[in-house]
């Protein structure tokens, strides 16, 4: 279900994991109520630090994407917050589609568009300061 993160990216591994889980939910690969692998199992499978997996799960819980139940593990949230996110993402997608279309009309290449998006995201990136 989840792939190995790339540790050599500048992006923290827990953020990469969070993105993967969200993406799996968006595509329907993970659905509300589904159980995720245990922290230790996933750490072993991906050969990453278990504290990193725990941190990703905690952050996803905080965002309402996962529910952590004591003793039984992590589940995709049943509450509609993740669902609302999917709606919001669909709306966002049409915004992006419009922007991409207009940029292409102005002769900006796809590679340039991609770099512009990434640069903007990197510029606006705020570190997560919460600690557990």
């Amino acid at each position: 279900m989840l792939n190995r993160p790339n540790p050599s990216l500048g992006v923290p591994i827990y953020l990469q994991l969070m993105e993967q889980v969200k993406h799996a939910i968006e595509t329907g690969a993970l659905r509300p109520g589904d159980q995720l692998p245990g922290i230790r199992t996933l750490a072993e499978e991906l050969v990453i630090n278990s504290n990193t997996v725990a941190k990703a799960y905690r952050e996803l819980q905080h965002e309402g994407v996962l529910e952590l139940r004591h003793g039984s593990g992590a589940f995709v949230a049943r509450n509609p917050r993740a669902g609302r996110m999917a709606d919001a993402l669909r709306a966002a997608q049409s915004l992006v589609a419009g922007a991409v279309e207009r940029l292409r009309e102005r002769g900006v290449t796809d590679d340039e568009i991609r770099r512009l998006f990434e640069a903007e995201l990197a510029r606006q990136r705020r570190p997560v300061v919460r600690r557990g």
Binding site: G10, R40, E44, N51, A119, R123
Partner: protein, 298 residues
């Protein structure tokens, strides 16, 4: 913040007038996997030796489990609770794998026979083979097995993956992450393999010429270090950045590239005042952080 298992402040050590350590600091919180990263000769091994009481510092303090590593009685207690794999992986060459496992187990009342069986299988170690006939990779795995099975609270590994092929490196790293996930264990390992640190460490200390130059949770370092790339319509001005955290500035044609150790905002704010045509913030990899933090050759 979790309590520190290892607490080192201002360590100094000289060997015959050559300074190996010049004020090294190190904190390893309980449950962390901490990578001690540095070039060859940076002082990593000396620091680990001091923690284990194998050599005494000329100055500064080293505590493990809150015990002073410089006091003989406390040092015995530290070693009782710590598993150590040295760079040489020195093991009795004439014993077989099975013999050395049995021999070592006898010294440790908390010996984990369940883990012993698991790691013998996982590492594919031939029980009847003599240690001197093992490959370097197998010898490392055997040394690691002996350290993992003794029920230690702290594992200190000096260059654990240095002679291993990529598949063996993966096996060793996997054994470490799974051991830390299931047992109450803290790991401190020295290495010059940046990839190993990136993959399994959650804390890192970069050591250069006997001093700690960067230390902290890896995620924090990744979000505080960045490169700000400023593009101008004409030739980039020879600007200097005196804001907190600003590092090396490179000027090349229309582009100024500024390193920041303390988030992008202060540098970006100053960059905007220069009237650039664009400003972008790029993340740094650990390798770039390392190369920017340690002094160059010579």
């Amino acid at each position: 913040m979790a309590e520190s298992i290892v607490e080192v402040a201002g360590l100094h050590k000289a060997y015959g007038g050559v300074e190996a350590l010049r004020g090294l600091d190190l904190q390893v919180p309980a449950g962390a996997i901490c990578g001690l990263l540095g070039r060859n000769g940076a002082g990593k091994t000396t620091a680990l030796k001091i923690l284990l009481g194998a050599t005494r510092p000329d100055g500064g303090a080293a505590h493990v489990f809150g015990l002073s590593a410089a006091e003989p009685a406390a040092s015995v207690e530290i070693r009782r609770r710590t598993g150590f794999v040295s760079e040489e992986k020195d093991l009795y060459p004439v014993m077989t794998v099975a013999e050395i496992v049995r021999f070592t187990a006898a010294f440790f009342p908390l010996w984990r026979h369940d883990l012993q069986e698991r790691y013998l299988r996982r590492f594919d170690l031939p029980p009847e083979r003599k240690v001197r006939a093992l490959s370097r990779g197998m010898r490392t795995k055997l040394a690691l097995l002996l350290a993992l099975c003794r029920g230690a609270e702290l594992l200190v590994l000096d260059e654990p993956t240095s002679d291993l092929d990529p598949a063996s490196v993966e096996e060793v790293l996997q054994a470490l992450v799974s051991h830390v996930a299931s047992e109450e264990l803290t790991v401190l390992f020295s290495t010059h393999q940046i990839a190993d640190v990136e993959q399994i460490a959650d804390h890192v200390a970069i050591v250069d010429r006997g001093r700690t130059v960067v230390a902290g949770p890896l995620d924090d370092l990744r979000s505080s270090f960045c490169r700000v790339r400023i593009v101008f319509d004409g030739e980039a001005p020879a600007a200097t950045f005196d804001v907190p955290g600003a590092g090396r500035v490179r000027r090349e044609g229309r582009v100024l590239s500024v390193l920041s150790r303390d988030g992008a905002d202060p540098v970006v704010a100053q960059a905007r005042a220069l009237g650039p045509s664009s400003v972008e913030v790029l993340p740094l990899t650990l390798k770039e952080i390392f190369l920017e933090s340690v002094a160059g050759e010579g």
